[in-house]
C-alpha cells in the first residue's frame, strides 16, 4: 500500500509538472485528489491493515495528498503568472506614437499685453475703466485741453463722422469721462485699455486702428515722484526686473509737466543694439502730471487735487516685447501668428 501511494505521488507530480495550462492542471487535481481518485481508492483498503499500521498509513496518505495539492497550487500560480505576462505582452503599445490632440485656442497677443497690464495695476488698487469708441469732440479733445484751434489737432488726422463726433484718437477721453463721473471727489485710480483710430495709411508701422492703454490717478497730494515710482514698478513687471527707466521732459496738452519714458533696452540690456537704435533706451510711453485745466474741466479743484496720467500704444509694447516686425500682423489674424502666443 505504501508503495502504491509512493507510485501515485510520483505519477501525480510528473503530471503536474507536465501540465501546460490551467485546465490540464484542474483535471489533474480532480483525477488525483477527487473523491473517486486513486488515493481515495487506496485508502479504501485501509481496513485490511493492522491497528498499528493504520495511522501510519493514514498519515502517509495525507502527506502524499498535501504534497500533490501544494505542487498543484504552486503550478497554478506559475501558470497564472505566465498567463498575465502573455496578456500584457499582447497589450503592449508604442508609447512614442502621438497622443489624441486636445485643441485649444488662445488670446490675441494684444489682449495678452492688455490683461497683463490690467492685472498689474489692479494689484496696485486700480480699476479698469472703459468708454465709447465713437466719441464727442469735447471728450476727445476739448476736455483734454485741446481747444478747437489747437495746432496739435488736425481734422486730417482724425476720423470725423460729424463736426462734433469722431472715432476717438486716444483712450484719454475715458479719463475725462471718469473724472467727470467722480464729481470732483478723489481718489480716482483707473487703467483704461481700448481701441483708437487715426487717419493713417496702414503700413508696417502705422495702423488706422490700434490699441492704447492709459492710467490715471487723481487724489490729494499726488506728486511727480509718485508717477516715477509707479512707472518704475510697471517697467520692471512688464519688461523684467533688471529694467531701468529714464524720464525725459516732453509735451502733451493734457499734462504739465509732461514726461516721455524710456526703458533700458530689454534686448541688449542697454549696451546698444538695433532694437534701441544703439541708444540703450527704448521709448515706451508718455505721461505727466494732469494739467490743471483738465482737472478743472472735469470738475476737480486743481488747488486741492493733483494727478498723474500715463499712456502707451499696446501694439508698440507687443512689437518690442516679442520682436514683431509689422503692425499689420495684429489685424491680419493669421492663425500661425496668433498661435505663437499660447501661454496665458
Amino acid at each position: 500500500m505504501q508503495e502504491r501511494l509512493k507510485e501515485l505521488q510520483e505519477e501525480a507530480l510528473q503530471a503536474v509538472d507536465a501540465a501546460a495550462d490551467l485546465k490540464k492542471l484542474n483535471d489533474i487535481r480532480v483525477s488525483y485528489l477527487g473523491k473517486k481518485g486513486p488515493i481515495t481508492e487506496v485508502l479504501k483498503g485501509m481496513g485490511k491493515l493492522s491497528a498499528e499500521e493504520r495511522p501510519k498509513m493514514g498519515a502517509l496518505a495525507n502527506e502524499v495528498r498535501d504534497l500533490i495539492s501544494s505542487k498543484i497550487e504552486e503550478k497554478q500560480q506559475a501558470l497564472e503568472a505566465a498567463a498575465v505576462e502573455a496578456r500584457l505582452a499582447l497589450e503592449t503599445i508604442d508609447v512614442t506614437l502621438p497622443g489624441r490632440p486636445v485643441q485649444t485656442g488662445n488670446h490675441h497677443p494684444l489682449t495678452r499685453i492688455v490683461e497683463e497690464i490690467e492685472d498689474l495695476f489692479i494689484g496696485m488698487g486700480y480699476t479698469v475703466a472703459e468708454g465709447p469708441e465713437v466719441e464727442k469732440d469735447y471728450y476727445n479733445f476739448e476736455a483734454l485741453n485741446l481747444p478747437k484751434s489747437h495746432p496739435a489737432r488736425d481734422a486730417q488726422d482724425s476720423f470725423y463722422i460729424t463736426e462734433e463726433i469722431l472715432l476717438r484718437t486716444q483712450t484719454s477721453p475715458v479719463q475725462a469721462r471718469t473724472m467727470e463721473k467722480h464729481g470732483g471727489k478723489g481718489p480716482v485710480k483707473i487703467i483704461c485699455p481700448g481701441k483708437v483710430y487715426r487717419r493713417d495709411s496702414d503700413d508696417a508701422t502705422h495702423s488706422h486702428q490700434f490699441m492704447q492703454i492709459e492710467g490715471l490717478v487723481v487724489d490729494e497730494n499726488i506728486r511727480m515722484s509718485d508717477l516715477k515710482g509707479t512707472l518704475e514698478l510697471f517697467a520692471k513687471k512688464l519688461f523684467g526686473e533688471d529694467r531701468e527707466i529714464r524720464l525725459r521732459p516732453s509735451f502733451f496738452p493734457f499734462t504739465e509737466p509732461s514726461v516721455e519714458v524710456d526703458v533700458s533696452c530689454f534686448k541688449c540690456g542697454g549696451h546698444g543694439c538695433n532694437i534701441c537704435k544703439q541708444t540703450g533706451w527704448i521709448e515706451v510711453l508718455g505721461s505727466g502730471m494732469v494739467h490743471p485745466n483738465v482737472l478743472e474741466m472735469s470738475g476737480f479743484d486743481s488747488k486741492k487735487y493733483s494727478g498723474f496720467a500715463f499712456g502707451m500704444g499696446v501694439e508698440r509694447i507687443a512689437m518690442l516685447k516679442y520682436g514683431i516686425d509689422d503692425i499689420r500682423h495684429f489685424y491680419t489674424n493669421d492663425t500661425r501668428f496668433i498661435k505663437q502666443f499660447k501661454l496665458n
Binding site: 488670446h107 490675441h108 478723489g186 504739465e256 494739467h291 489674424n333
Partner: protein
C-alpha cells in the same frame, strides 16, 4: 529743426562739449534730439580745383577732358561728364585716393582711352540732397566763387565740416525753431552765456516812409507790420558760408536777397519776405482779408483761389502775398531787382494755419507763425536782415521803417510758492536752486520769502501758468534727480467689475474650446457694414474715409471674421476656428453718439478633430459649434434658459440656422454660412455665430449654493420614439421634461435613425431618461408610473410611438 553745431557756437560757447554730448543733454532736458548727422561722414580728399583747360573728349560726345590745377606741383587731367564744366571755373575735385559717400573710392582711371586723375563733383556727389542744390547747379557740378583758393578743403568751404542736431520739437517749443531760441535753451542747460547778434546799420538819408506806407485792415490777424526799404541791391549768389548753412538746415539757396531772408528766419525764427519794390505795383501796403474768389499766383507758380478766411498782403489793388505762407509771383525778387521792400510782421497763428491748411502749403514761414513767433523779435529781425543786405547784396538801407503796430505785448508774470513746486514734484528743492534755474533760463525773478515771481520772456509763449514754471524747474533740475515714491493717501480696492470678469471667463472658455481670439477692424465697406447684423440701423459713415473698404462702422463682426477665415484658408492654415468680442455701432441720428453694443462672434471651418494615425477625422458641423455655445451657456449658469429655434437669417443656410433665445429674448444666431456666400469667400462648409455679449454677461444667475450629493441610486430608462420627420427634438424633449416632473433628473438624445427600416416620412429618436428621488431609493413601480406618463404625453402631444 536742424541745428548746426558750428553755427550754434556763434551764440554759446560749446567748448568741452561734443555734438553727441550736447545732443544727449538737450534730449534729457526736454527736446528730443532725433539724430546727429556728421555732414562730411565718409568723405575725404575733396579740394578746390581750378579748371585750366577744357576740351571735348576725343572719343565721347558727352565727356569733357579737363586740365585741373588742384594745388599740387602739376595740374592733372580729369574726364568730366558734367554739361556745365568749363575753363576758368573753381570746382570741387575728389582727388585720387579721395573717398565719397557710399565708400566710393576715387582711383586713377581710363575713360574711353583718356586718363582721368580724379573727379569733379556735383554737390549731390558730396552727399548733399539734390533738392537743396541751387537750381543753376542741380544738373551739373557746383561752381565756387572765384575768391576760393586752389588746394583748399572744398568741404570746409561748403560748411560740411559740421554736425547737425536734428531736434524733434513738440508743439509747445516753437521758440526753438530758431538758432537764437536753441542758443537760449543750450545756454540754460549748460549754464553759460548767450551772445546775441547786434546788428548795426548805417542808413542813407532817404526815408523808408517816403517810399512806402502801410495800412492794416485786419489788426487782429496782423497786429504788427514792419517794412524796410533797401536800395541799389545787386542780386548775386549769397556768400558760400551762408549757402552752406542754409543747405545744412534744409533750405535751398537762391540768391543773396532770398537767402538772407531765409537766414534770418533760421537765426531769429522770424519769417521775412522780400518784395521787388519796383514790381510791387504801388507805394502802399494794404493788409486785409481776401475777398471770396480772389486769386493769387504764389511763388511756386500755383494759382490759389482765396476765401475770406485768408489774410493777404496787397498793393491796395491785388494780393501780392498770402500772409505768412508764401509770396506772390507778381512781386518776386528777380535777377534785375534793385530795390527791396522787406516785410517783417507778426501774423496770428490760427489765421496762417487756416490758409496753410486750405492750400496744402506748409512753408518754413507758416510753421513758425502757427507756433507763434516772438513779437519782440519782429523789428530786430528786420534790422538784422537790413545789415546783411548791406553787407552781402551791397544794398543801401533807407532811414527808418514803415510800421503799423497795434500789438499789446504783455509778458506773463507768474508767482509760485516753493511749497507748491516741491509738493507737485515730490522734491525738496531750495528757493536758491529754483531762482538759479530761472536765471539760467534768463527769466527775470523776484523772491519774497518762499514765493518766487517770474517774468517770462515773450520768446517763451508756451509758459502761461504756474505748472509750466514747475516743468521748467523739473527739467533743468533733472528728472533723474526726482525721487521715486508711490501714491500715499486712501487705499482703493483694485478689481474688475463682474461684467469684465465674466468677459474674461468667456474668452478663456472659448479658447479652451479650441477657438483663437481675432481682432479685426471696426471700419468696413458700406455693403458689409450691415451684413449679419442682429439689429439693423443705418450704418455710420465717416465724413472723410480713406477708402471705400474702410468707410462705415460695422454692425456685425461676422463679415470681418469671414475675411480672416478666407485669408487663413487660402494659406492652408488647418482648423480655422476664431472668435472676436467687440463693439458694433448702432446709429442714434447725427447728433447723439451711437449705441455701442458688444458682440461675441465666431467662425469655424475645416477639420475639427483629427487623430491621424488612428485614421479619425471629423469635419466641423452645426453641432460642433452649437456644442461650444451650450458649454458656454452652461459655464455662465443659464443653459436651462436657452432655446434654439430654427430660423431664416439672411446670409445663412436656411435649413441649418438657429436663432438663440435667452429667457425668451433673442440674443443671436448660430448656423452654417449660406452656400452662395461660402462660394464667394472660397470656403468649404463654414459655421458662424454672433451673440449679444451684453445680454449673456448681464443675465442674472442664482448665487452659488452647494447641492447635496445624491445618496440614492437613480434608474435609467431608454426609449426610442417614432415620430414624423418634421418633428424637432427640442419639442419632444420639452414634452418629456414637462411630463417627467421632478423625478426626471436628466434626459438626452442618444440616437437618431432615419434609415431604410423606417416607414417613409418617419424617424426614430432615442432618449435616455434618468429618474431619481433625493429622499429615497425609487422602486420600479414608482418609476414606471412616471415613465408611462411620459409615454402618454409624447404620444398625445407629438404623435410619438414607441419603436417596436
Amino acid at each position: 529743426m536742424f541745428v548746426s553745431y558750428k553755427w550754434l557756437q556763434e551764440y554759446v560757447n560749446l567748448s568741452g562739449i561734443t555734438p553727441d554730448e550736447l545732443a544727449e543733454k538737450i534730449t534729457r532736458s526736454g527736446i528730443e534730439v532725433e539724430g546727429v548727422e556728421v555732414l562730411n561722414e565718409g568723405l575725404k580728399g575733396v579740394v578746390i580745383g581750378h579748371v585750366l583747360e577744357r576740351e571735348q573728349h576725343p572719343n565721347a560726345d558727352k565727356l569733357n577732358k579737363c586740365l585741373v590745377d588742384i594745388g599740387e606741383e602739376n595740374p592733372v587731367q580729369i574726364i568730366c561728364g558734367a554739361p556745365n564744366v568749363d575753363k576758368g571755373q573753381k570746382v570741387a575735385v575728389a582727388t585720387v585716393g579721395a573717398v565719397l559717400p557710399g565708400n566710393f573710392k576715387i582711383k586713377k582711371a581710363k575713360l574711353r582711352g583718356e586718363e582721368s586723375n580724379g573727379m569733379i563733383c556735383s554737390l549731390s556727389e558730396l552727399g548733399i540732397d539734390g533738392k537743396l542744390v541751387a537750381k543753376e547747379f542741380s544738373e551739373g557740378i557746383f561752381v565756387f566763387p572765384n575768391d576760393v583758393t586752389v588746394g583748399e578743403d572744398a568741404l570746409e568751404k561748403l560748411q560740411r565740416d559740421d554736425q547737425i542736431l536734428e531736434l524733434g520739437l513738440t508743439a509747445n517749443r516753437g521758440d526753438c525753431l530758431s538758432m537764437l531760441g536753441v542758443a537760449y535753451e543750450v545756454a540754460a542747460i549748460l549754464n553759460r552765456e548767450v551772445k546775441l547778434p547786434n546788428p548795426t546799420v548805417k542808413p542813407i538819408a532817404e526815408k523808408a516812409t517816403d517810399y512806402i506806407s502801410i495800412k492794416v485792415e485786419a489788426n487782429e490777424d496782423n497786429p504788427l507790420y514792419v517794412a524796410k526799404v533797401i536800395k541799389n541791391v545787386k542780386i548775386a549768389p549769397s556768400p558760400l558760408w551762408m549757402q552752406g548753412r542754409l543747405m545744412a538746415a534744409g533750405i535751398r539757396p537762391h540768391n543773396n536777397v532770398v537767402d538772407i531772408t531765409n537766414y534770418i528766419l533760421l537765426e531769429y525764427g522770424q519769417p521775412l519776405h522780400a518784395f521787388d519794390y519796383d514790381r510791387f505795383g504801388s507805394k502802399e501796403i494794404l493788409v486785409r482779408r481776401a475777398k471770396a474768389g480772389e486769386k493769387i499766383v504764389t511763388l511756386d507758380a500755383a494759382e490759389r483761389i482765396l476765401t475770406e478766411d485768408h489774410l493777404v498782403i496787397t498793393n491796395g489793388i491785388e494780393p501780392v502775398a498770402l500772409a505768412g505762407v508764401m509770396g506772390g509771383a507778381n512781386s518776386e525778387v528777380q535777377a534785375d531787382t534793385t530795390t527791396v521792400l522787406l516785410e517783417s510782421a507778426y501774423f496770428k497763428g490760427e489765421t496762417v494755419r487756416k490758409a496753410s491748411k486750405d492750400h496744402g502749403l506748409r512753408s518754413e514761414a507758416s510753421s513758425r507763425f502757427e507756433k507763434g513767433v516772438d513779437p519782440n523779435r519782429v523789428r530786430a529781425a528786420a534790422e538784422r536782415a537790413a545789415e546783411l543786405l548791406a553787407l552781402y547784396a551791397s544794398g543801401e538801407v533807407l532811414e527808418g521803417e514803415a510800421v503799423v503796430d497795434t500789438l499789446q505785448i504783455d509778458p506773463a508774470v507768474i508767482s509760485i510758492t516753493l511749497e507748491k513746486i516741491n509738493r507737485v514734484l515730490g522734491t525738496d528743492i531750495s528757493i536758491q536752486e529754483v531762482k538759479s534755474i530761472f536765471t539760467r533760463l534768463q527769466f527775470e525773478t523776484s523772491v519774497d520769502h518762499e514765493t518766487i515771481t517770474v517774468t517770462v520772456p515773450t520768446r517763451r509763449g508756451d509758459i502761461t501758468i504756474a505748472e509750466d514754471l514747475i516743468e521748467e524747474v523739473a527739467r533743468l533740475y533733472g528728472y533723474d534727480h526726482l525721487p521715486s515714491t508711490l501714491p500715499s493717501g486712501s487705499s482703493t480696492p483694485g478689481h474688475l467689475t463682474a461684467y469684465q470678469q465674466k468677459r474674461r471667463a468667456v474668452r478663456r472658455y472659448l479658447e479652451g474650446a479650441g477657438l483663437y481670439q481675432a481682432l479685426t477692424y471696426s471700419l468696413t465697406s458700406e455693403e458689409k457694414a450691415t451684413q449679419f447684423a442682429l439689429e439693423i440701423r443705418e450704418p455710420i459713415k465717416l465724413a472723410m474715409p480713406m477708402s471705400e473698404d474702410r468707410s462705415h462702422l460695422r454692425l456685425s463682426i461676422i463679415p470681418q471674421l469671414l475675411e480672416v477665415v478666407k485669408y487663413n484658408v487660402a494659406r492652408q492654415n488647418d482648423r480655422v476656428a476664431l472668435y472676436e468680442a467687440g463693439p458694433v455701432f448702432l446709429a442714434n441720428g447725427t447728433e447723439e453718439l451711437p449705441d455701442e453694443k458688444e458682440r461675441l462672434a465666431g467662425a469655424i471651418t475645416g477639420v475639427w478633430e483629427q487623430h491621424q494615425w488612428q485614421g479619425e477625422k471629423k469635419e466641423v458641423d452645426f453641432f460642433v459649434l452649437k456644442g461650444i455655445l451650450e458649454g458656454l451657456f452652461a459655464k455662465l449658469g443659464f443653459e436651462q434658459k436657452i432655446e434654439y429655434r430654427q430660423a431664416i437669417v439672411e446670409g445663412m443656410h436656411p435649413g441649418r440656422t438657429a436663432e438663440v433665445y435667452l429667457a425668451g429674448e433673442k440674443i443671436g444666431f448660430v448656423g452654417q454660412l449660406h452656400p452662395t456666400l461660402q462660394k464667394e469667400y472660397d470656403l468649404k462648409e463654414t459655421y458662424v455665430f454672433e451673440l449679444c455679449l451684453e445680454a449673456i454677461l448681464s443675465e442674472e444667475v442664482a448665487p452659488l449654493q452647494y447641492q447635496s450629493i445624491p445618496r440614492y441610486p437613480s434608474i435609467t430608462r431608454d426609449i426610442a420614439l417614432v415620430v414624423e420627420k418634421e418633428k424637432v427634438a427640442g419639442e419632444l424633449e420639452s414634452i418629456i421634461v414637462e411630463a417627467g416632473g421632478k423625478l426626471l433628473k436628466d434626459v438626452h438624445v442618444f440616437d437618431l435613425y432615419e434609415g431604410e427600416h423606417m416607414e417613409p416620412g418617419k424617424k426614430s429618436i432615442a432618449y435616455s431618461l434618468k429618474y431619481f428621488d433625493p429622499e429615497k431609493t425609487l422602486t420600479d413601480e414608482e418609476v414606471t408610473k412616471v415613465h408611462d406618463k411620459v409615454l402618454t404625453a409624447v404620444k398625445e402631444k407629438a404623435g410619438a410611438v414607441l419603436r417596436g
